[in-house]
């Protein structure tokens, strides 16, 4: 029941772009994105709500296609500081507790 993230890992050079996908088998109300740097706590990046919105945060943006139950995280002109593991957390449309179901994570490594 965990959402499936792809790819599992990606290696980039500085300045390159990457896309991380998150796909759920359940109807979703929202999708959260978090980044965890090595040895640190996961940190919230953004939330996308039902309605098919797209959000941006500096050079990191995301989209949410509620019909396909999919979200994508776009990292453009990647910087060394983008390295880490990215998790999507999904909130099902049914149920109203605020619990999230997290994907297995995508490890991103940006090299100079």
């Amino acid at each position: 029941q965990q959402p499936v993230q792809s790819p599992q890992a990606v290696i980039l050079r500085e300045g390159e772009d990457a896309v991380i996908n998150c796909s759920s088998s359940k109807a979703l109300y929202s999708v959260h994105w978090y980044r965890q740097k090595h040895g640190e706590a996961p940190v919230f990046l953004m939330i996308l709500l039902k309605g098919g919105e797209q959000k941006g945060h500096d050079k990191i943006s995301a989209s949410f296609n509620e019909k396909k139950q999919q979200s994508s995280l776009y990292l453009t002109a990647s910087q060394l500081s983008y390295s880490g593991t990215y998790f999507c957390g999904t909130e099902p449309l049914s149920g109203n507790t605020g619990k999230l179901i997290f994907g297995q994570g995508t490890t991103l490594q940006v090299k100079p």
């Binding site: 029941q1 965990q2 978090y34 939330i47 605020g98 997290f102």
Partner: protein, 117 residues
């Protein structure tokens, strides 16, 4: 600066010991969570609490119990630790609201790496 703190960064215990992991948040959040993080498996929810003394099982509650006597504190208990409970344990908290849309961003603690020998 909002904070979620966990009692230990590293813990080593023996098989069969009773283990307590403590988590404290200073944001007056109603929701608190315990996750287990293993390579390739992501964050899996062990238990969730939406109010003092209220708890709900997550996806992998077997072998664990929790306690929430005060709003700011959420404890994870391993009644009899086993080697397959060696893992990173993360605590998180968030606001609670029944009304959508809502901001239920989760704030995470630094984690406790538990090794059971």
């Amino acid at each position: 600066d909002v904070k979620v703190t966990q009692s230990s960064r590293y813990l080593v215990k023996r098989t069969g010991e009773k283990v307590f992991l403590e988590c404290v948040q200073d944001m007056d959040h109603e929701n608190m969570f315990w996750y287990r993080q293993d390579p390739g498996l992501g964050l899996r929810l062990i238990y969730f609490s939406y109010d003092v003394k209220m708890k709900e099982k997550g996806d992998i509650p077997e072998g664990y119990s929790v306690s929430r006597e005060k709003k700011e504190r959420f404890s994870l208990i391993l009644e009899s630790a086993s080697t397959n409970q060696t893992s990173m344990y993360l605590c998180a908290s968030s606001l609670f609201s029944l009304v959508r849309p809502r901001n239920n961003e989760q704030f995470f603690g630094p984690g406790t790496r538990l090794t059971v020998l």
